[in-house]
Amino acid sequence: MPTAGQKKLLEELKNSLTQAVPEGQVEDSDYTRTGCHLEVRLDQGGMRRVAKVMLDKRFYLETITAVDFIDHFELVYLYSTYYQDVFRVITRIRIAKDATPFSVSAIYPGAIWLEREVYDFFGIRFQEHPDLKRIINPDDADYFPLLKNFGKTKFTEEIDDILC
């Protein structure tokens, strides 16, 4: 059951997020099933406006990741709180395969490495990033390992899911 503090925060966040990103969808999320309280769905951009709202409310950036859905990417930003009533906001941003989204590293410096990791594994180039280069894979690598057309995935070869 959500506590009083969580309910209050939910209303506040809904207001400020719909003001900040009027084009996006701000929806409640089922915490017991997904682990998030609020979900923001966006197309192409708006991550910096969301990040500003989150920093105002004293959220920390848990992680940034991406999911390769063959025809598009989904950028996932997870924000959570340090205070007693935990509250998690997930931002999903649908971007095209060749899109160059904006970096949030000017707002959250911790995003510098997180975005480098996303670039390293998916080849998503962030605009206005101070130092966009490989982080975990070798500097001279010419592949992006977490794309679905790289290596062994169910899109590149048949995986026998019982005997694999």
Binding site: G35, L61, Y82, Y83, Y108, I159, D161, C164
Partner: protein, 375 residues
């Protein structure tokens, strides 16, 4: 004549130079490379170069079924492997809606907390060794050895456990484990005084760590620092309390915090957490409920389509498993939020202005595990 060029000509002058710490260096836990720019002995800039132990766990998840990924999480952070193992099981259980028997939850708590103590001993004692004290390291290793023996008895391995199963744990704990854990708690409680005497009152240790490498609350927030490094900065945040999972709400324990934010504070938080973990284990052993340790789960789990995110507290901070399922037996994507990754990046902010010798102290006090960063 050899003409080896290591630094950019524009930045080089008489005083400013670059130094490579690692990839093989006694103070780096694992294979970690720190490229330090120095002015004399003062750090101007520090750049950790990571990726030497990258094994591609997230890619591995995309070509095998959920059960086959079970041994992998313990190999990400090998020092708190049991916690990772249980955490992955909890994430899949949440995705599939599997219930876990209460006895299994208690056993998970007991084994996780034992693992946390073992990990904190390495973290704290390795830090002391980084500052030149060899004896505490050997003492801590001795206590940790007892835990490894206990966990070996029930899980079968000493470091990279695969004891958790979807819907519980693999096997019940036996009387030998129960008695051994009780003995271990008594023994360790008697030894805290020795650690206090040996380390906490050592003047060299205090002078090397007090006021060194202060992480402010603001930096912690914007860099996403979690775990003992955050609690050393006075923020009372622990996933076990703030976002309780498993059987943690049923136990009575404190979250130790320190206000200073320096290396000493982080060390003190770790030692205080060991005592709290002992309290949790004792309560869990006292009230261990009877019953099965594993619920009936199909041989191969098939989660419904959807995503879920689950956090839990490892010895280094808040770990998160983000699982995307497309309704098949093979995960579509598993992303692991590694606490060491964010904690290490915060180091690049706090190191400039310190002496090179303090870099070793800061690095040791943050206590990162390299395979977890690289994954």
């Amino acid at each position: 004549m050899l003409n080896i060029k290591t630094i950019d000509d524009a930045t080089v002058n008489q005083r400013v130079y670059q130094l490579n710490l690692g990839p093989q260096h006694p103070s780096t836990h694992g294979v970690m490379h720190l490229l330090v720019t120095l002015d004399g002995e003062v750090v101007i800039k520090i750049e950790p170069i990571i990726g030497y132990s990258h094994r591609g766990h997230e890619k591995m998840a995309e070509n095998r079924i959920y059960e086959q990924f079970l041994p992998n999480p313990a190999r990400m952070d090998y020092l708190s492997g049991m916690i990772f193992n249980h955490g992955y099981c909890m994430a899949v259980e949440k995705l599939c809606g599997i219930e876990v028997p209460r006895r299994a939850e208690y056993i998970r708590v007991i084994t996780s907390e034992l693992n946390r103590i073992a990990s904190h001993f390495i973290g704290a004692m390795d830090y002391a060794m980084g500052l030149g004290a060899i004896t505490p390291f050997l003492w801590g290793w001795d206590d940790r050895e007892q835990i490894l023996d206990l966990l070996e008895g029930i899980a079968g391995s000493r470091l990279t456990y695969s004891y958790g199963r979807f819907g519980g744990v693999r096997n019940d704990i036996d009387q030998a484990f129960y008695n051994g854990t009780r003995r271990f708690i008594d023994r360790l409680r008697g030894r805290f005084w020795d650690y206090e005497n040996l380390i906490n009152q050592n003047i060299i240790f205090i002078k090397r760590s007090k006021g060194v490498g202060v992480i402010s609350k603001e930096d912690a927030l914007t860099y996403g620092v979690t775990g003992p490094s955050l609690r050393g900065s006075g923020v009372k945040y622990d996933v076990r309390k703030n976002e309780p999972y498993s059987a943690y709400p049923e136990f009575n324990f404190e979250i130790p915090t320190r206000e200073a934010g320096d290396c000493l504070a982080r060390y003190q938080v770790r030692m205080a957490e060991i005592e709290q973990s002992l309290n949790i284990i004792e309560q869990a052993l006292d009230h261990l409920p009877p019953g099965p340790v594993r619920s009936k789960v199909p041989r191969f789990v098939t989660p419904p389509e959807g995503e879920c995110y689950l956090t839990f507290e490892s010895a280094r901070g808040a770990v998160g498993f983000y699982i995307v399922s497309d309704g098949s037996r093979i995960p579509y994507r598993i992303k692991v939020r590694a606490p060491s990754f964010s904690n290490l990046f915060a180091m690049t902010k706090i190191c400039p202005g310190h002496f090179l010798a303090d870099v070793i102290a800061i690095f040791g006090s943050i206590d990162v595990t390299v395979p977890e960063i690289d994954r």
